[in-house]
């Protein structure tokens, strides 16, 4: 399980909540989160599953490497932050 934190900015648009979600990669963890918060998927990922241009995802405070597939490996206890990029604001 990894802890996922969503930017409060996202809560202006969709009902998201932080929490523990299962998965061995960032993509798997996000998928677990989107199973219970399906509307959030289209706000974080684009039509084809890549991280939106003006969204950033940190894994343990480091930007993820694979914005296209989010294949970065996740270990139990890791923290994922889904934030808005300053480039979009």
């Amino acid at each position: 399980m990894a802890f996922v934190h969503f930017t409060p900015h996202l809560r202006m648009h969709v009902d998201v909540r932080d929490g523990e979600f299962a998965g061995a990669t960032v993509a798997e963890v996000l998928n677990s989160a989107f199973e219970v918060m399906p509307t959030a998927r289209g706000y974080v990922l684009d039509d084809h599953g890549a991280v939106r241009k003006h969204v950033v995802i940190f894994l343990n405070s480091t930007l993820i490497q694979d914005r296209t597939r989010q294949s970065d490996a996740v270990a139990p206890g890791d923290r994922i932050d889904v934030l808005q990029a300053l480039s979009g604001g």
Partner: protein
């Protein structure tokens, strides 16, 4: 005469209501967020608001209670594949026929045309247009990618649809979108190399509107000037009889008189500000042979207002118009533009205006 209006802006959707003869702001939806387009469906009263969230992408919401509450509906999705595009913006929505079951047309940046038959719950890409070989020649105008901003459904036959693309010219279908053919013969693009300037596939119509009473008459405010078609968008005649400037983005046509149309001119195209700092509207009453410069009630100096393509609205009477500008000013008329009222607000930049 309509007593309800809408201004979609960079910071929200303003619902306007006329009270005792004066426009008031009745409500603001999506406060703080960019509203790229608004469509009020005349068939069922539904209101569609397209958002273009800076971080989280293009979204679409529908209201079935006159804007009191909103429900997020689906957005179009482009097909997977190598170099597959992503949705950047929803930029036009129109009823696809007289009945709700006829569905909706929707145009996007990049230049995709979609159809929904379930009030926006799902969208299908129009593949015949998407796969048309000419689409490879389209390019962005004012945006990085091509854009479908104008959809005109013929009220006599909803299978007959005309669209305009920046920059991809004017297209027609007679079979509800199964096949498409280029129109736009006669349009001119000075921004292209000499051999390509008359190529209809690369023209930049900023907006195309259709006269409801005479659907074979269409007007285009083009990057290079003003054009009028009287044969249903096949061929176009350049209109040169209006003063001030022939550059602009917006155009409105009278619902019953195909010879009468309005424009909001600006200095082309490197500057895009009013000529001599004076905000004016131009109107022709004779199909573009001559024009009238309308100034009464509009500011005469120190103006930097530009009116975007969807930001000039007209109602069914043809007497009432409403427009909003990039500097957040809004103006209304009830006499075809002979006199204008400056609305006493300081709005965000206005992207779209509607009287509906």
């Amino acid at each position: 005469m309509r007593d309800r209006g809408w201004l979609g802006t960079r910071k929200g959707l303003f619902r306007l209501q006329k009270m005792n003869g004066s426009w008031e702001i009745a409500d603001v939806a999506f406060r703080g967020h960019p509203v790229s387009y608004v469509f009020v469906d005349p068939r069922d009263g539904a209101i569609y608001a397209a958002l273009n969230l800076g971080h989280f992408g293009a979204k679409l919401h529908r209201s079935d209670d006159d804007g009191a509450t909103w429900t997020e509906v689906a957005v179009p999705v482009f097909p997977e594949g190598e170099g597959a595009p992503t949705l950047k913006q929803i930029w036009s929505i129109e009823a696809a026929g007289p009945n709700v079951d006829d569905g909706l047309w929707l145009g996007t940046i990049p230049g995709g045309l979609f159809q929904s038959r379930d009030r926006g719950a799902s969208w299908q890409l129009n593949e015949p247009l998407w796969n048309h070989p000419s689409r490879a020649k389209w390019f962005g105008g004012g945006a990085d990618e091509p854009a479908i901003h104008s959809i005109c459904v013929d009220p006599r036959d909803p299978q007959h649809v005309r669209i305009a693309v920046s920059c991809g010219g004017v297209w027609r279908t007679f079979d509800g979108g199964q096949t498409w053919a280029i129109g736009g013969i006669g349009m001119r693009a000075d921004f292209m190399p000499p051999d390509e300037q008359m190529n209809p596939e690369i023209q930049d119509p900023h907006l195309m509107v259709q006269c409801p009473a005479d659907p074979d008459t269409l007007w285009v405010q083009h990057h290079n000037g003003i054009f009028r078609s009287t044969d249903g968008a096949d061929s176009w005649e350049e209109v040169t009889g209006l003063d001030v400037s022939l550059f602009g983005f917006a155009v409105a046509v009278h619902p019953a008189n195909p010879l009468r149309a309005w424009f909001v001119p600006a200095i082309k195209d490197e500057m895009r500000i009013p000529v001599d700092g004076r905000l004016v509207v131009t109107r022709t009453d004779d199909g573009g042979k001559t024009g009238t410069v309308l100034t009464n009630g509009l500011p005469a100096e120190n103006c930097y207002d530009l009116v975007f393509r969807h930001a000039l609205a007209i109602d069914e009477t043809g007497d009432q118009l409403l427009f909003g500008s990039t500097t957040g000013n809004a103006y209304a008329t009830e006499n075809g533009g002979d006199t204008w009222t400056a609305l006493p607000w300081h709005l965000p930049p206005v992207y779209v205006a509607k009287l509906a």
